[in-house]
Amino acid sequence: MSESSSFILDDQEIPFMPGQSVMQAALTAGVFIPHLCYHPEFRPHGSCKLCTVKINGRPATSCTTPAAAGMAVESNTPEILDKRRTLLQMLLVEGNHFCPSCEKSGFCMLQALGYELGVVAPRFSLLYPTRPVDASHPDVLLDFNRCILCELCIRASTEVDGKFVFALSGRGIKKHLVVNAESGKLADTNFSLADKAAQVCPVGVILPKRKGFAVPIGQRRFDAAPISAHVDEFKPVVSAQGERP
């Protein structure tokens, strides 16, 4: 297979393998593109829109666009960075995010991208949604206040765990996560801490109980280096079961 194909991303030549998306090729080459709903182990989703780039002058999500030879991709430009910053500011007012009291602080991708992209002040009025927590499960707490609707837990529970524990209900700004139980309580599902769905939340919704603030400030995942320096952790996984796109 010829692997000489490449495209240009912000003046840098990025090689790619057939079938790779722009995002996958960039991450493989060590170039970070901000994202929240993309996860190396799951099919791309294209909903958070943070990974929007311009391809040959037209906006597109880099996680869903297949790489093609000769593409001219813009990512790190003032215009695109401004859009990404605005999208983060939208997510920050849509939910109830209080970083100082959040167990995920320092490990949270939303927070880390906020620092990365320079979200230094609130911009929009907070929407203050009412989102009661679900503490019914013996091992896991669900704090919906922080949900950014990336659907990673849904995809993990469906595609890996085969349990369908999570789903979305509602529409528009009222869209919200539900669990697979008539009572609406996580305790009444077959969810377990060992599930893949328990590991993938990029923010602080799905939290193990009896464990919090275990790592001191200064030593947390994104304390030492910004999220873009963690690019290796987001590289596509080429697993034994073949290419999980």
Partner: protein, 600 residues
């Protein structure tokens, strides 16, 4: 148990098929009044889907209730045209008489009153839906009578028949609306053209017919792409879908076509089926047109008897095709073809990532043609009369006719069919519009034309339209028009992508802030900024076009905004006195002492 029996009967009728979930949910709700948690569990078990997926679908659509909303559910159509006809005063009067707040259920669980997106009765508003049955021409007297009927718990089926009469209001008819084709003629002539369907496909291509739903894709190319696309899996198939989810506020021409020319529409679908090689079709009818379900099913039954649907159509060996009507349930976004297909499969109406397009991967991942009601009707005429004949109407780049749904400030609102190329001015003159300030063409996602633009033409290469034509005279406040549209988009965003889900609500809040007298230039700048973001990053057309009304009118009707602006650089959206309103409500006080001094 009675509920279980009702649910099982519905499930049985639909073969326990999860892809028919929309119909299962609707019919269950019609039987039981609402979709309780236990009902959803039973349905999930019946179709063998995870319960979470069933709840996911049920929660998406405005017309499915996962909480009890009363035995009488009154929904006021809230298009700007209904507002101009006084719907808000009537709704308030109704709520007062029922001792009810909009959006709430009465304490005895009898009734709830709320607003809903445009119900497609703009030429005969103010309109309501009562238990999803359309009622037009609401007046103070009708409100009083209706309240009485609800108090007496008279079943809706026994309410005055005149209330449910829907007028066609055809004011100008051309080739589509005057057509008196004998059912089957388009098929017979197509078959006579030669045994290969390609001869008729050539006529469709020759006609240069373009889609009437708004996007204007060339119909012949779409059908050819689908015909050439291979089916997938061990049960390859192709499908024809008629998009009758006429949700664009101000549009009602598909309702009239399906009432007056259903045979033309169905025949167009049948011709399409023959050309692409489909044996199954759907009419996806918006939930607001529930009353059309039985008449359409009767037409389908008659056509089966006439040999125009079913096995070996008109004796043609091997050509079998049948159609089912599926009802939507109150979601504008399902007018987008891939969202419509998701909905047909029993899922949330979320637009798919494209490519692949429906012509290669549509319903159940099979090649699927989705066209507007009017497109199929026009295609039937082309199949019968040929492409050259059709090109004789309209302009060089926009062949044929276009049906306009005219509403707002004019003497004769209703349906006007014109050859493409008609000027906006001519339409205004013929419907009796006077002193016109602006025309909103193609609904909120379309374009707002001011007086200087009335010589522009309705055509794909000038002012393209899906059919809405809303007229506003000089007395109307354009800002209120836009505000209505902005609220509409916030209500109808599917919520899939961040910019549209959050952005449409932020836009709504900004416009409300300006309406409340707290707006500043900073807010106008922010509107521009948000619009640029939505146009470039939103997932589908709804998000891309949600900013059109604001951008258009900020450019053409700037004073409508500026006279509301506060001169200060920044004013908080937070209003201290308004924040006390809950306390006032709870204490039942509204005297001076219950208000902040500054607000007095």
């Amino acid at each position: 148990m009675k509920n279980t029996d009702a649910i099982n009967a519905v499930l049985k009728r639909h073969g326990n098929d999860g892809t028919r979930l929309m119909q299962i949910l609707r019919e269950t709700q019609e039987a039981l009044g609402w979709l309780s948690p236990a009902t959803l569990t039973a349905i999930a078990a019946g179709v063998n889907w995870p319960r979470s997926r069933v709840e996911s679908t049920a929660g998406f659509y405005s017309f499915f209730h996962t909480a009890p909303l009363g035995r009488y559910r009154v929904l006021w159509s809230d298009n700007i045209t209904d507002r101009m006809l006084g719907n808000m005063d009537l709704m308030r009067a109704m709520c007062e008489k029922l001792w009810l707040e909009p959006g709430r259920v009465s304490t005895d669980g009898l009734v709830s009153v709320d607003t809903t997106s445009c119900t497609g009765m703009c030429d005969q508003g103010p309109a309501v839906l009562v238990n999803y049955r359309a009622i037009t021409h609401m007046t103070t007297a009708r409100v009083e009578q209706m309240v009485e009927l609800i108090h007496n718990q008279t079943p809706v089926a026994e309410w005055p028949a005149a209330w449910f009469r829907i007028e066609d209001n055809i004011r100008r008819a051309d080739i589509l609306l005057t057509n008196a084709m004998t059912p089957g003629d388009a098929l017979r002539i197509s078959f006579a053209r030669g045994s290969a369907a390609s001869a008729t496909l050539d006529e469709i291509k020759k006609s240069a017919l373009r889609g009437r739903g708004g996007a204007g894709f060339t119909t012949g190319l779409k059908w050819e792409a689908c015909r050439n696309a291979p089916g997938h899996g061990d049960k390859p198939a192709r499908y024809v879908v008629c998009n009758a989810d006429e949700g664009e506020p101000g549009t009602f021409k598909d309702r009239v076509l399906l009432t007056r020319q259903p045979d033309l529409v169905i025949e167009g679908m049948t011709v399409a089926a023959w050309i692409i090689g489909a044996s199954k079709g759907f009419v996806y009818l918006r939930g607001e047109y529930r009353y059309l379900l039985e008449p359409l099913n009767a037409v389908l039954a008659r056509r089966r008897q006439q040999g125009l649907l079913g096995e070996n159509i008109l004796g043609r060996e091997g050509f079998s095709f049948d159609i089912e009507v599926h009802l939507g349930a109150g979601a504008y976004v399902c007018g987008e073809e891939s969202a419509l297909i998701e909905s047909l499969e029993g899922k949330r109406g979320v637009p798919r990532n494209r490519p692949p397009y429906p012509v290669t991967n549509g319903f159940l991942n099979q090649p699927t043609v989705v066209n507007n009601v009017e497109t199929f009707a026009a295609a039937a005429l082309v199949a019968k009369n040929g492409g050259d004949w059709y090109r004789g109407f309209g302009t060089a780049k926009s062949s044929g006719t276009k049906i306009l749904s005219v509403s707002g400030d004019c003497v004769q609102p209703g349906i006007y069919e014109y050859p493409f190329g008609v000027t906006v001015r001519q339409v205004l003159e013929e419907c009796g519009a006077r002193d016109t300030q602006a025309v909103q063409v193609s609904g909120p996602s379309g374009i707002c034309l001011n007086r200087d633009e009335f010589d522009r033409r309705i055509a794909f290469d000038d002012v393209p339209t899906a059919g809405a034509f809303m007229i506003f005279n000089q007395q109307r406040d354009i800002f209120e028009v836009v505000r209505n549209f902005v609220h509409f988009f916030a209500h109808e965003s599917c919520g899939f992508c961040t910019p549209c889900r959050v952005g449409t609500t932020l836009l709504k809040n900004l416009v409300d802030k300006i309406a409340d007298g707290n707006g500043t230039r900073t807010d106008i700048d922010e509107i521009f900024h948000l619009n640029r973001l939505l146009q470039t990053t939103a997932h589908c057309g709804l998000g891309h076009t949600a900013c059109n009304p604001l951008l258009d009118t900020l450019e053409k009707f700037r004073p409508a905004y500026e006279r509301r602006l506060n001169l200060l650089k920044f004013v908080p959206a937070f209003n201290l006195d308004a924040a006390l309103s809950q306390a006032r409500q709870m204490t039942g006080r509204d005297d001076a002492g219950a208000h902040l001094e500054a607000a007095q």
